[in-house]
């Protein structure tokens, strides 16, 4: 035992060579296809720019994300890209990066403090409005809608819900939200929540889900019930786009996560050569609606 320790200690003290310049990406979760696509976009851009990308998964835990960012600072990455799990809780970690003179870029979700060079995201409120407008036209201005909400308290759930509901109230008074339940951005929960709602509500014309995972779960429940209900999702994940093409879903709001990842790395690469802006610069990523006109 003691011999093993001696050998290992001598190897440790010899130490390996330092890694080359790198960019760190702390993602809220890699259990969601949206963020996997975001990571893939970032990876592709990093390979193209010739920089190393270190990706860490916070697993939707605020304390792990803070620890991950602290680890990235210790690894001496040149730029930190953050997709925050929690806007307020991530602030101490951003401040730690600030203190180490490492520029920070937030992606998809904003942080509520610390010095951030760029914020790259699409407008979730606008996305909610886009979904409301589409459903309003699809239902001919009247009908009953079920809203499947994301993780309670998350900025995405709040903003998408706000955009959707505000738009219905302002421009489509004939469409009523008859049920509003959370399914935590999860496909399995989307399925079970929708099954329950289908039992409770006899008249449902459409469903708006705050993300595609919940929408796809709802689709399964609706198919099993045999009722003609239109489903609109959010994110345009590969599975959802396939479902739209197969007329199983009416539409999905495309956030272009790969584009977010690409832009984040490009801005990070630019920061390696230049200086950060004096105050946070917002870089919007365009939203578009993916639908299929050939579906009835």
């Amino acid at each position: 035992m003691s011999r093993v320790l001696v050998v290992l200690t001598s190897l440790a003290l010899a130490g390996p060579a330092l890694a080359k310049d790198a960019i760190g990406l702390s993602v809220s979760t890699l259990n969601n296809p949206f963020f996997v696509t975001l990571r893939d976009g970032a990876k592709a851009a990093a390979a193209k720019a010739g920089v190393d990308l270190v990706v860490l998964d916070a697993q939707d835990k605020v304390d792990k994300q803070v620890a991950d960012i602290e680890d990235l600072v210790q690894r001496k990455v040149k730029v930190v890209l953050v997709n925050p799990t929690d806007a307020a809780a991530v602030v101490p970690a951003i401040e730690r990066a600030n203190a180490a003179k490492i520029p920070v870029i937030t992606v998809d979700r904003a942080a509520s403090g610390g010095k951030v060079a760029y914020h790259i995201a699409s407008d979730n409120v606008a996305g909610g409005k886009l979904a409301a407008d589409f459903l309003c036209k699809l239902l001919g201005g009247k009908g009953n809608v079920v809203e499947l909400e994301g993780i309670p308290g998350s900025s995405a759930a709040r903003d998408r819900g706000k955009g959707f509901n505000d738009e219905l109230k302002a421009r489509c008074k004939g469409v009523t939200v008859v049920a509003r339940q959370t399914a935590n951005f999860d496909r399995g929960q989307g399925l079970s929540v929708m099954e329950n709602v289908l039992q409770a509500q006899r008249a449902i014309d459409a469903v708006f889900a705050h993300n595609d995972e919940m929408a796809l779960g709802a689709v399964q429940a609706i198919q099993a019930s045999g009722r003609p209900i239109k489903v609109v999702g959010f994110d345009a994940t590969d599975d959802a786009v396939k479902a739209v093409n197969a007329c199983k879903m009416a539409a999905t709001v495309a956030q272009q996560p790969a584009e977010m990842g690409r832009l984040a790395v490009e801005k990070a690469a630019a920061l390696l050569k230049g200086t950060a802006p004096a105050k946070t610069e917002f870089i919007p990523v365009a939203l578009k609606l993916v639908s299929n006109a050939s579906c009835k």
Binding site: M1, V4, L5, L8, T9, L11, A12, L13, G15, P16, A17, L18, A19, L30, V54, V55, L56, D57, Q59, D60, K61, V62, D63, K64, V66, A67, D68, E70, D71, L72, Q74, R75, K76, T85, D86, A87, A88, A89, V91, P92, I151, P152, G153, S154
Partner: protein, 322 residues
Amino acid sequence: MNAVLQGFRRIEKERYAAFAALAILSILSAILSPFFLQPQNLLNIVRQVSYTGIIALGMTFVIVSGGIDLSVGSMAAFVGSLAVITLNASVNAGLPEWVAVAAAVVCAVLVGVACGLANGVLVTKGRIAPFIVTLGTMALFRSLSLYMGNAGEFRSESMVFGELGSSAPLGVPLPAFILIGLAGALSFVFTRTRYGRYVRAVGSNARVARYSAIDVDTTRLLAYALVGLMVGVSAVLIAMRFNSVGSSTVGINYELDAIAAVIIGGTSMAGGRGTVWGTVVGAITLGVINNMLNMVGISPYLQGTVKGLVIIGAVFIQRQRQ
């Protein structure tokens, strides 16, 4: 003579197995990453593990007494939320900031103990299995936090509170100081007091303990109160660190990390056997694993595999010893 020597060896192995594992893991980490041995990185690890480590100290008593507490993560969110509400109410009432911070700390500790006692009463007086009780209160505490915060976060309105969270007296992070201080105190309680002996006796065999005139229910009740106290301390430190408490995000999987730290530290899940310092080592071991996986750049999807294997390995080694 041989039997005596073997007995000593077994005690030494049991006492130092967790320490040896941590030493090997640390050396391995240093080989794999040039950043691991940097003082700031080591301080980061100690701070990162302090929050669940403090909870794990209380969990040691619960597990050694033959129980389990799955509610600690949700309890941390609930207690932390109330602490920040108390803090903000005190600040808004015009009290000096240090008084407001003290009020938040007292609130967290009292509510933590109350929550722990509630679990303990249901287990001991209600005669419900600890797993079931704490599974129920896990949902209850999380639900109450979500309701109070409307699923959002409670942000501190005190500058002092946040500054305390990032303070490092003598260069050592405040939570680490508290972890070591509490570990020392609880180690003394566990090894040198009547209560510590009772906890081990109850965990080994509750019926025999009862025949030995030990108040089994009170012993277990106090163990749950103690873990509640530790959650209170941890929750206020977490709130200080983030200067906020997210009702839906704080405390996720803390129960699993705390239980894992206790097991890796050499405490038997069957009860009756364990060490407080072993738990501290277990918590640091988990922190080193997380840190190493990040530094080395292992796929995020495989990180759970490594942690899982370490936990299973720790239990397997315990089995071999018994």
